[in-house]
């Protein structure tokens, strides 16, 4: 690291002790010696500063925390508009005002959340410029055209957000509402580009494409369109929807637990349901996007792929399996509690199905969480003949993981369908045939996913990756895209036997919603660390080496501590944003 200016500071400190006389003398000497600079002009300039540091915390830790918080906040401010806009469209199409109210309640958060995100973005930029000038110079040289595009996007996004929020009440009827919906769409449209432009900077660091020649725009464009750019874009877009949904759920859960009257309990119970639904809606395709991203990383560079999936970072994926498993269990638990408490009398009907689904989920999770190399004492490893278990070792590879993740998605989807159909009696003449078809589809899909998973062990890796895994995904998507419209059609003419009762959920439902949100945030912090650490000792993989004192990967336990800290800080920030945004409403409510 370059140390500069220390002698000057010591001189100034010495000067302070003499009433400023020394400083004045120094200035005078400095002015008089200015002509001497001309003689020294041909002396080699001091080497440029490459890194700076701060004591105690360390520059890397500070950048890590601020970057992660910025990313989580960005996920929140990009996820919430999607969530709010979807709710507004539902309200617009169905005429259900409560969806509009919900959309507005969440858009209100955006102004303060947006400012906080920008604030953290600004802090991050200053920290990066200060601590990593060499890296920032390099990135600026390549990406400055997209820096300008990013600034322009911010301007239009901000203007659209102001119009969308402040125009909410003024644009409620007729064509004005249509225009407001259009503004919501544009808000999300610009937000999408605000997300993908910085994604190109981050993904460039992992999978750089560097043109030695060409115009500035050509170089920036080549660097932007790097191998992992689109996989990360899609993965983050879906993850933001999940984050927005589950945070809405957590907010509803907390408000539900602290509700003072039946009206509040009804409203926040319903809000919790919507948040969980949108979270699950995003969660179902998320593993597919993650798989695609990992495939691209592995194909881009074997070293990086193995570092992540087989090397020292592979333990992160066991932690990831645990967190995703809790998320799946939490979401299904919430659905099942909904069937039991919101639709009285349904519990007996569905209890056996719930037990079956729970057992499948747990078995799948057991497989997903089984590492390839097990943690074992020396004695245990000796008995196993190494750290691979001869029988259960087969659970440790991708064929098994892909199979069980697809099965868990299928089960969660069925939980939702079960919830949807509970309390209703199909009256259509073809209902029996449709239900038989749906059951057959589901069973066949489950069998096909398992057969492909087992078969995957006996074919070359490329056949498994390109054909079997994608077929598993296609089968699950086919089931979802077939059963959803079929159920909707079936329920169109169905008779409601039991009305949905809101506000009767037990407190543990609220806690389940909070748990889900925390799991998503922890997951994002975990994967943020994985993505960043996969570059190991490179700022830009294979191009610009990290030569700072922090050019090493922190131990997993240490990293887990920072992840937990980031999760805690983000929860505090979001709680603050909610508190500030709802302050005036509470004041109004207490006055009326």
């Amino acid at each position: 690291m370059q140390q500069q200016g220390g002698w000057f500071q010591r001189l100034l400190q010495a000067g302070r002790g003499h009433g400023g006389m020394f400083s004045a003398l120094l200035w005078a000497v400095g002015l008089l010696s200015l002509p001497a600079l001309a003689f020294g002009a041909d002396v080699a300039p001091a080497a440029a500063t490459e890194y700076r540091d701060i004591p105690y915390i360390g520059s890397r830790n500070l950048v890590w925390v601020v970057a992660q918080l910025h990313l989580l906040l960005a996920g929140f401010v990009l996820g919430v508009p999607i969530f709010a806009w979807l709710c507004e469209v539902v309200a617009w199409k169905t005429g259900e005002k409560r969806y509009d109210k919900l959309a507005k309640e969440f858009t209100k958060l955006l102004t303060s959340a947006y400012a906080t995100t920008a604030l953290f973005g600004g802090i991050l930029l200053f920290l990066l410029i200060s601590f990593y000038p060499k890296l920032m110079n390099y990135l600026t040289d390549i990406f400055f055209p997209s820096f300008i595009v990013y600034c322009l996007l911010f301007l239009v996004e901000t203007a659209t957000l102001y119009l969308y929020w402040y125009g909410w009440d003024a644009m409620q009827d007729g064509h004005k509402k249509t225009f407001h919906i259009f503004l919501g769409f544009m808000l999300n449209f610009f937000a999408f580009f605000i997300m993908i432009v910085p994604n190109s900077w981050a993904t460039f660091q992992a999978s750089p494409v560097v043109l030695a020649e060409g115009s500035d725009i050509a170089r920036a464009w080549a660097a932007t369109w790097n191998p992992t750019w689109w996989p990360v874009n899609i993965h983050r877009l879906i993850a933001n929807v999940v984050l927005g949904g589950y945070i809405c759920g957590a907010y509803a859960g907390i408000r539900y637990l602290s509700a003072r009257n039946a009206e509040e309990r009804d409203h926040y119970d319903w809000m919790g349901y919507v948040g969980n639904f949108i979270g699950v809606f995003g969660l179902l395709p998320l593993p597919f996007a993650g798989y695609w991203l990992m495939r691209e990383i592995y194909q881009y560079n074997q070293q990086m792929g193995i570092t992540l999936m087989g090397g020292f970072l592979s333990w992160l994926f066991i932690l990831q399996a645990m967190l995703i498993g809790v998320l799946f269990l939490g979401s299904n638990y919430y659905f099942w509690l909904g069937i039991t408490y919101r639709i009285p009398g349904s519990e007996l009907k569905y209890r056996k199905s719930m037990l079956s689904m729970l057992i499948i989920l747990l078995l799948c999770l057991g497989v997903w969480m089984t590492p390839h190399s097990l943690v074992a004492s020396l004695e245990e490893a000796r008995k196993m003949g190494g750290t691979h278990h001869p029988l259960l070792g087969v659970f440790g590879v991708m064929s098994a993981k892909m199979t069980v993740s697809n099965l868990m998605i299928l089960v969660t989807f069925m939980s939702f369908i079960m919830y949807w159909r509970a309390g209703k009696e199909e009256t259509a003449g073809w209902a029996k045939a449709a239900k038989a078809l749906m059951s057959a589809l589901l069973v066949l899909a489950g069998i096909a996913v398992v057969v492909l998973g087992v078969w995957g062990y006996f074919v070359p890796a490329i056949i498994r990756i390109n054909y079997f895994s994608t077929s598993q995904v296609m089968i699950v998507l086919f089931v979802m895209l077939t059963i959803t419209p079929l159920t909707a059609l079936l329920l169109k003419s169905a008779k409601t036997t039991t009305e949905m009762v809101w506000g009767k959920m037990p407190p543990r439902a609220g806690y389940a919603l909070v748990l889900n949100a925390i799991m998503v945030i922890l997951l994002m912090t975990l994967m943020g660390y994985a993505r960043s650490s996969s570059r190991v000792h490179w700022h830009v993989y294979g191009v610009l080496r990290d030569s700072s004192q922090y050019a090493f990967s922190p131990a997993l336990g240490y990293a887990a501590g920072i992840m937990a800290l980031n999760t805690f800080l983000f929860c505090m920030i979001v709680a603050f944003i909610f508190w500030v945004a709802t302050m005036s409403d509470k004041a109004k409510a207490s006055h009326s």
Binding site: Q299, N301, Q302, Q303, M304, I306, T307, G310, G311, F312, S314, L329, Y333, W336, L337, T340, E347, R351, M354, L355, L358, I359, L362, L365, G366, M369, T370, H372, S373, L374, V375, A376, S377, L378, E380, A381, R382, K383, M384, G385, G386, T387, H388, H389, P390, L391, L392, G393, V394, G396, V397, Y457, F458, V459, P460, A461, I462, P506, R508, G542
Partner: protein, 239 residues
Amino acid sequence: MGGSLLKPVILIGVVYAILKFVVPNIPGSAPLPASLIFLYLMLTTSGIVIFATLSGESKDAFWNPIQRFLTGENIGGLQVLRYGVLLLFPLMVGWQTYSSTATSDAPPSENRTIHPAPPGEYTGLSNPVPKTPDTIQQGKGFYAAFCSPCHGGNFDGKGPAARGFNPPPANFSDPTTIAMLQESYLFWRIKKGGVGLPIEGMPWKSAMPRWEVELPDEWIWKIIMGEYDGAHQAPRTWE
């Protein structure tokens, strides 16, 4: 104690017995490490709690006996057992804390990374030797001469010298070993041997020789072809 509580206790006991005594006795299996048994028992317990709390009635049936037992409310003859549990529990926590912090001569847990990332210079390599029946046959011949004493004539890691090594030599016929890797990875491993492993691969734990001092690169590439063919596996490729 209520029947609702007895069933979960029996279930956990049965799962433990299966993992501890049944699975290791399946042909080709081995005892499970404690970490894995703990993981599966945690999953079982989570499942029990989730299912038991799905409705108010089932939650009460599950939780009320625990609450009654812990508070000592109308438990009759179980009072002695309650005092026993209340005394034993903190003692067990104390013992656990002591045994996890006390100095021990037991070696640390094994967390060796079996397939660490290869150095950058090996990642882009492809096999320069044309894949023909002749070259494969030559590769198998070299394999028989240099590798089979440890990795076995059947490519299953059971060569005559294998029993002398811990960890044992890799089993190439297992679809979770070389089938997951590119040829360049095997080239690195054969060329540099155990001493060429990075720290997370624990180079001190591998007896694999550094074959670059004895074999030319071409022979190594041929051995790789022979290995894949003999083990009936295919290397990871992207085409």
